[in-house]
């Protein structure tokens, strides 16, 4: 797939995705990223620092949300800029031993801006958990072919 700026319009939807998250996913992310903060895998530690429970790494949420954009762009290297603010935690309940997810993150993307000179499209992501936005100003800039 090759995206062309003339085929895109501001406000156009690029798709939606649901991301199931389990405690095991957070352990995998901790290992892959090197971020071993126990608030992301230990209930007693998390509640001991006044969190409601184990929460996902903000970078897990940011990293998994952008896959919608990578797949839409057709090449992950086309994502030349990506930013977000972390506003609310994603609480991941312990569903170990069952098939149920511990949390479900919903991601939707729209074309937020087009820059014909730079040949880029800005994709604005809406990322929610239990109906509330967990990322704000989540924007990925895609270099178009």
């Amino acid at each position: 797939m090759s995206l062309k700026i003339e085929d895109l319009a501001v406000g156009q939807e690029i798709g939606k995705r649901s991301i199931d998250v389990t405690r095991q996913d957070l352990v995998k992310y901790a290992g892959a990223s090197g971020d071993f903060n126990p608030i992301h895998w230990n209930e007693a530690f998390a509640t001991g620092v006044d969190l409601p429970g184990v929460i996902a790494h903000g970078m897990f949420t940011m990293g998994s949300a952008v896959q919608l954009v990578s797949d839409w762009a057709g090449d992950p290297a086309a994502v030349v800029d990506y930013q977000t603010r972390f506003t609310k935690p994603v609480l991941v309940t312990d569903t170990t031993g069952t098939d149920a997810p511990g949390a479900v993150i919903e991601v939707a993307g729209v074309v937020g801006a087009l820059d014909a000179d730079a040949g880029t499209a800005r994709i604005d992501l809406t990322v929610t958990f239990e109906g509330q936005k967990v990322l704000m100003k989540s924007q990925a800039v895609v270099k178009l072919a």
Partner: protein, 153 residues
């Protein structure tokens, strides 16, 4: 414990080399639930014009957080890691990170702002490779703000 206001403007030189391996790219991609073949299949990555497997867009966080650790572990900084909350993050890619890259990161403390009893600290990691003649080839710039919560926050 209070945050040292003199941190602003400080920089930490590139301390170590991060060797980007194929299996690490695959592992990180699985961990963020990425399925694009350019992260897993060398032929698929080459078909898109890349020299090797392409790292996911947030892969540079590994290198950036290692650089940040120099600041957080600096006893002069006065940062209690258990009170740190990640507030925002940005990645600007000058080119894609691919397997085989040898990355270095120079950390800059761009901002220190008191907030309540705590502080918001903004850091920037300039990630680059060194060419044969030791010139820097920029790869990515990452910026990150962390909120260090004060007592009772």
């Amino acid at each position: 414990m209070t945050i040292n206001p003199d941190l602003q403007g400080r920089s930490y030189p590139a301390a170590e080399v991060y060797d980007v391996g194929r299996e690490k790219i695959r592992e990180f991609a699985r961990a963020v639930k990425a399925t694009h073949p350019a992260h897993f299949d060398v032929d698929a990555a080459r078909a898109l014009g890349h020299s090797d497997l392409v790292a996911p867009p947030t892969f540079a966080i590994i290198v950036a957080q290692r650089a940040d650790a120099q600041l957080i572990e600096d006893p002069e900084a006065g940062i209690d890691f258990s009170r740190v909350v990640h507030a925002d993050q940005r990645f600007t890619h000058h080119r894609a990170i691919v397997a085989g890259d040898q990355l270095r990161a120079e950390l800059h403390v761009d901002g220190v702002r008191a907030m309540g009893g705590g502080a918001m600290i903004t850091t920037r990691a300039e990630i680059f490779t060194l060419g044969e003649d030791l010139q820097r080839d920029p790869v990515a710039t990452t910026t990150s703000s962390i909120l260090v919560r004060g007592e009772g926050q």
